[in-house]
Symmetry: D3
Subunit: 67 residues, 6 copies
């Protein structure tokens, strides 16, 4: 406890993923939860498979890229 | 709001995915929700990794294919 | 197949839920999937527990209500 | 993008939830993602319904409380 | 590792939940995974909020009850 | 009903997956649920994308492998 599932667009760098894991974990350790209790599961979703406003993000947000 | 997670077997065509995104989004806009508020995240699961009745779907439903 | 998880704010009416279930199911039957294969799981989240732009939706979007 | 699902034990305070939402959102804005793109969905699970090491957390971790 | 999310209809008894936690955990310890690494999160969904074949399970499967 | 989502590290063998599907399904049939009602969806997560104690499992648990 806690378990955190993160959904992002495919293409996030390894460095960005490390920061996501570290930052989310720190959010909970700041609340007094031991760090070994925090699990963060990142799942990358192709923009073609992520719909926003009725269209795939690969069309709707063609020029926006993951960090 | 809303966030919708869709799990389907791997192999769904791009055209079918577009219809899934459009159809689910329309379901919510018909209820008065603005389309830009609807996010649809599709995840494709290999049939080997989807169990039905105790067996992988790749065996249990060998001849059924995703649209 | 498919399994669809829907996350909405708490307070959606039973009538709206029925339309969500029917509309999402029809999206898949229109693709040739038999209706008995479609499962839709709706989860209502209190606005206090749904963060947008760093704040609970109960503050950020105080006046927006679920259908 | 991103969508973050957080699972914690039931009983987390409103103040702790606000910090979870703010901290996770900041993790992503630090990566250059606009804050309005970050959605955080917190779900509280009764300890009876959260198994660890084969037992409900209500027994296995009787004296540990959520923040 | 692993994390297991279980979705069932609302009304499952505490005894049945204990068996679900124990049985799923044993499935993984039989594979050599240490039991303390297995987390099982059970979420109960009202039958009104679980759609099957286009209808809420509360109508479609009126007489079926959770264990 | 039920729907079970299993998250494991990438690299689990096909034989182990079959045992996960069979074992989880049996857990529910032992409770009187018909086997055809049980769906198990396994998702494999690269160890780089699974954070434990603030670090990717690929670093924190470098020598632990999935079954």
């Amino acid at each position: 406890m806690p378990v955190v599932h993160v959904f992002v667009w495919k293409g996030m760098s390894g460095e960005a993923k490390r920061k996501v894991i570290a930052g989310i974990t720190k959010t909970f350790t700041d609340l007094g939860i031991p760090e070994q209790a925090v699990e963060v599961i990142i799942q990358e979703i192709p923009k073609e498979d992520w719909g926003i406003a009725g269209l795939p993000a690969s069309e709707k947000l063609r020029d926006v890229m993951p960090p």
